[in-house]
Amino acid sequence: MASLIKNIKSSFRKMTTSIKTFFWDMRRAFNARKKKIGAYLDKKNLNLATKFPGWARALIYLSPALIVLSVFTFWPIINSFRLMLYEGYNMSNNTITGYTIFGNFIKVINDESFLFAASHTEGTAVMNTLIIVFISVPVSIFLSLFISVALNGIKPLKGFFQTIYFLPYVTNTIAIGLVIAYMFKADGGLVNELFGLGKFSWVEQGAEYWRSMFVLIFYATWGTLAFKIMVFLTSIQGIDKQYYQAAAIDATPRRRIFSRITVPLISPMIFYILVTSVIGAFKIYNQIVALFGVTGRPAGANYTMQSIVMYIYQYIDGGGNNLSIAAAGSLILFGIILVLTLVQMQASKKRVHY
């Protein structure tokens, strides 16, 4: 038995040695080839470093990223500006009936399901999105801050709890949505059972607007907690322990340590999370589809849970003849996000300590 183990060990060692040798030789061969090519290019006077000026070289090195970004990002952005200017665009034969500057915007803004509802009293794409953004973002940031401070404070089972809180990040959004929908089921759902609410309808037939909205915000908040906790926890762990020791000696209460030391010291991270999660929340789509389906409307409801992105999708879907409206909608979304981000950057100047 012992000799067998010895044999296995020695053959394993031989194997690793030969693999390492292989990679070593590969690297040598590669370097030799590189030298050869370099010498050839020098001879032909094609050397990148000497032949081209700096800006041209930069462009060559950037080209892979630039090409991909152009095809999938820059061109679509330009296209949406172009589409926004068309009137009566028909995708199948690529014809238009005329041009307009504000026409498509006016159409979108006058749309009852976009900004101001006419017949029904609750729920338009913009109102829904704004409610989600202005509730879920602050709530999730505060919650994740407290959770990460608490996680940083505990010693036993630290890794276990960190894993628990990080799980939503690696779980499929739609799958979580189905679980959440099941938890809030009227008949035998976990929430109703737990709080003894009977057959209280949250997201199904007969659910009121604010109940659906509550579940959606709960879901949106919880789903984004994981990443925030991870970012905050790592930045809290990066704070020098001596600040806390100094504060302890000065008899600083916990509340003040949190507000006067921890928060200011990780303020750049909080700001980063704030900006990215406002943008992320404005783009909410998956969560609504998971809870209410592609129509964004709970069964039998007279209101809609649609978000701005869902509104845009709806017009992309419709045979391609309403692309101009979708383009105008996405530019409005872009405008809102841009303005909000600028406001945040301005407001943060005094409160963020780099």
């Binding site: 020098d240 001596q242 600040y243 020791q245 100094a246 504060a247 302890a248 000696i249 000065d250 008899a251 600083t252 209460p253 003040r256 006067r260 030391i261 200011p264 010291l265 303020s267 300590h353």
Partner: protein, 357 residues
């Protein structure tokens, strides 16, 4: 405020269960209003001692008294101490003013008085004009002053300084040394000061404690410790250039250097000992001097007003710092002597000094 440590012991246990005794049965009393230096090589337990006084570390055994109060079990914030950290730990996002104000915010002090105290303290440490700046806009010495002001503004019972000068350049260090001494004198606060720099400790302390492996080696005034070291460790740790230490036999009470009798010590029994003589305690012997030894000069260096001579005693390289007029450049040999009480005889095993007290 008198500060008393009784049998203070700290044992760290690492993950594999090995015990390390950082501080071993330390008992010292620090008189009210004095500045005491905790001195020792790195890892000797001096910072551990300081953090135990601060309450940031819990002693394994022993007690700490502030005056008559037993503070051993008291949380750091209830002890009334001011602590200056090695890297100052100033809050980077607060101005100097807010940094100094911070400890007062947690105390029951009227706002007017708090502002008054911050200003007074800032003036005392000499940063009164920089209250609006952030720590990053200050030099190391200025940051140090802010840290001291922050520690003192709440009028602590004891001020603790953890290697406060180690992050400063040589010139600033000298300046801040005097500043700390001045501030301590003006406020009359009992101060404990940790350092590994013997020169720093000697120049600033009223009394100092030398630690090695957590064990107290000697506790006395700096000059007294320098002149009458309790053991070989203290003798070697203090002084620059370091003390000469070498083996020598004692026969009939006389120390034997290079097979010659040098000096009589009646209290020393015959045997083999370690002898210690500081380089500057050698001097060139007068003609009629009784105890002298003739040595062959190996090398000679002139360092300003002194001359450094290298020679051999009992097979060991020895340095002597003598008056530059007393020895010529071409001298091949010289007769040296030293004062009786400046020659230390140490026990070979324990390192304890034998010929003093």
């Amino acid at each position: 405020m008198e500060l008393r440590l009784e049998n203070l012991t700290k044992i760290f246990t690492n993950k594999t269960g090995t015990d390390t005794t950082a501080v071993d049965d330390l008992s010292i009393t620090i008189d009210s209003g004095t500045l005491v230096g905790l001195l020792g090589p790195s890892g000797c337990g001096k910072s551990t001692t300081l953090f135990m006084i601060a309450g940031l570390l819990k002693p394994t055994r022993g007690k700490i008294f502030f005056g008559e109060d037993d503070v051993t079990k008291l949380a750091p914030e209830k002890r009334g101490i001011g602590l200056v950290f090695q890297n100052y730990a100033l809050y980077p996002h607060m101005t100097v003013y807010k940094n100094i104000m911070f400890p007062l915010e947690n105390m029951d002090v009227p706002r007017d008085e708090a502002i008054q105290r911050v200003k007074e303290m800032a003036d005392l440490v000499g940063i009164g004009t920089m209250l609006d700046r952030k720590p990053a806009q200050l030099s190391g010495g200025q940051q140090q002053r802010v840290a001291i002001a922050r520690a003192l503004v709440k009028k602590p019972r004891v001020l603790l300084l953890d290697e406060p000068l180690s992050n400063l350049d040589a010139r600033l260090r000298l300046q801040m040394r005097e500043e700390i001494k001045r501030i301590q004198r003006e406020t009359g606060i009992t101060t404990v000061f940790v350092t590994h720099d013997q020169e720093e400790a000697m120049s600033i302390s009223d009394k100092m404690v030398v630690l090695n492996f957590g064990v107290e080696q000697q506790y006395s005034a700096p000059q007294e410790m320098y002149n009458t070291p309790a053991n070989l460790f203290v003798a070697k740790f203090l002084g620059n250039p370091p003390i000469n230490s070498f083996e020598a036999d004692v026969k009939d009470g006389a120390v034997i250097f290079n097979d010659q009798k040098f000096m009589q010590f009646k209290e020393v029994k015959d045997g083999s000992y370690i002898i210690g003589i500081r380089p500057e305690h050698f001097r060139v012997a007068e003609k009629d001097s009784k105890d002298k030894i003739k040595v062959d000069i190996k090398e000679i260096f002139h360092v300003g007003r002194d001359t450094m001579i290298h020679f051999e005693l009992n097979g060991q390289n020895i340095r002597a710092l003598v008056d530059s007029d007393s020895v010529g450049d071409n001298d091949k040999s010289v007769e040296l002597t030293c004062k009786r009480k400046r020659l230390y005889v140490f026990d070979k095993d324990t390192g304890k000094v034998i010929n003093h007290g």
